[in-house]
């Protein structure tokens, strides 16, 4: 075999391998869902309990991914979880937007859902979302249910 054909075959192989790597990143992995542009803005939200929320989890509004969780810290003054949301610049939310920690499906990953309010003013970068709802903790729910049952029995 001539050295030209040989080089060509090796080139085709390397090309196929690199295509496979890119497919792994984009088709199999979640690289395409990262916003590549840096035009994001940051909002904060304090939750009493974030459950199993993780950094880089999606922020959704009406089911559409509008941003990602950038950072989760514990606020040692107010004893709440302070979550940093990095949102796409294209999306603006009213001042009375409601943020809640939700679960996709019964056992799926947790994400932050934003329900837009009716205020005419928009949240500016760096502001904190006032109205939040914590994650549902199954043990607390069961505890509450049992408590209510017991209350009902007394009557």
């Amino acid at each position: 075999m001539g050295s030209k054909t040989l080089d060509l075959c090796a080139g085709v192989f390397v090309f196929a391998g690199i295509v496979a790597l890119f497919m792994l990143a984009f088709k199999v992995g979640n690289l395409s869902s990262f916003s590549l542009s840096s035009d994001n803005y940051v909002l904060y939200a304090n939750f009493e309990n974030i459950g199993g929320l993780k950094v880089r989890a999606p922020v959704k509004s009406a089911g559409v991914v509008v941003g990602r969780i950038a950072e989760i810290r514990f606020d040692n003054k107010e004893y709440v979880a302070r979550v940093t949301l990095s949102l796409d610049n294209r999306y603006q939310f009213p001042k009375d937007t409601f943020a809640s920690v939700l679960t996709s499906g019964l056992l799926g990953e947790q994400y932050v859902g934003l329900d837009a309010g009716g205020d005419s003013e928009f949240l500016q970068a760096g502001e904190t979302i006032k109205k939040t709802q914590s994650a549902v903790v199954l043990e607390k729910l069961i505890g509450q249910f049992l408590f209510n049952q017991a209350e009902g029995d007394k009557k």
Binding site: D7, A10, F13, V14, L24, V28, G29
Partner: protein
């Protein structure tokens, strides 16, 4: 009685010499790697040498990698469906197939096949070159055999391994798709959506690439060293080839455990 008394010091002596010999060979391998790295500059200036070896190491391994990847994907699709269906979560099949391939099976199985397909070829070729005194002839002509023979093969192996592992994973995902979606009838949208939601580019894909790079260095280095170090006889070459497969398989599996514990530990 007498033979037992004699066997104890003999056994101890054998154990000691085995231990000393292993450490000695480890040092030799390290020095071999160092010399190869130092002489790599020449082979990068003459990139045609590396391309040639990529052809022999990578392109020739493509068939076995693609076929094995396809069947591993088929089996993952079947087994995964069988288990997930018990928990009524067969939509997660895509995630299961992709994660097992990208994180573990892709790099590890590719490395094992690579050791069997390309590693043995490298060892036998260099061993025969040594047995027929081609390496000495090169030295006579003031051509450094490390720079001319060893370094291009080393870099070809290091370049080929991650590419082969990526091809293996992609073909495997495709195999899982054929069995899961086309044959069994798992929802196609859920298959891809769960996969994309669950596979992280850095935690999973990049770590898989790092693994396959490390395995590429390990397997190629062992194959080259065993060939370069073998006894220049027919028996010596055959022994070196066997050792290449055994040692590189063990090294890959052991390294896989170490790397996985690092990666899951969150570095």
């Amino acid at each position: 009685m007498n033979s037992v008394v004699k066997a104890i010091p003999d056994g101890l002596q054998a154990l000691g010499s085995w231990a000393v010999n292993s450490v000695w060979r480890l040092g030799l391998v390290s020095r071999f790697l160092w010399v190869t790295l130092i002489h790599s500059g020449t082979s990068f200036r003459r990139f045609g040498l590396i391309t040639r070896e990529i052809y022999f190491v990578g392109v020739y391994s493509l068939i076995i990698i693609i076929v094995s990847g396809l069947f591993v994907g088929f089996v993952l699709g079947l087994q995964g469906y069988n288990t997930l269906q018990k928990y009524a979560s067969e939509q997660a099949l895509g995630l299961l197939v992709a994660l097992s391939l990208v994180r573990e099976l892709g790099p590890v199985v590719t490395a094992l096949l690579f050791a069997g397909r390309a590693g043995t070829a490298i060892t036998a070729e260099i061993g025969l070159m040594k047995a027929t005194e081609q390496l000495s002839a090169m030295e006579m002509m003031a051509v450094d055999p490390i720079a001319r023979v060893v370094a291009p093969r080393f870099w070809a192996g290091v370049i080929s391994m991650p590419l082969l592992a990526a091809i293996f994973s992609i073909v495997g995902v495709f195999g899982g798709y054929i069995v899961g979606v086309v044959l069994i009838g798992v929802d196609e949208g859920a298959f891809w959506a769960q996969m994309q939601a669950g596979v992280d580019v850095f935690d999973d894909v990049l770590n898989g690439v790092v693994k396959s790079l490390v395995f590429g260095v390990t397997v190629t280095l062992i194959a080259l060293f065993e060939g370069y170090d073998c006894n220049p006889t027919a028996e010596g070459v055959s022994r070196a080839t066997t050792r290449t497969v055994v040692i590189s398989s063990l090294a890959v599996l052991a390294l896989d455990f170490v790397l996985t514990s690092f990666m899951l530990g969150g570095w």
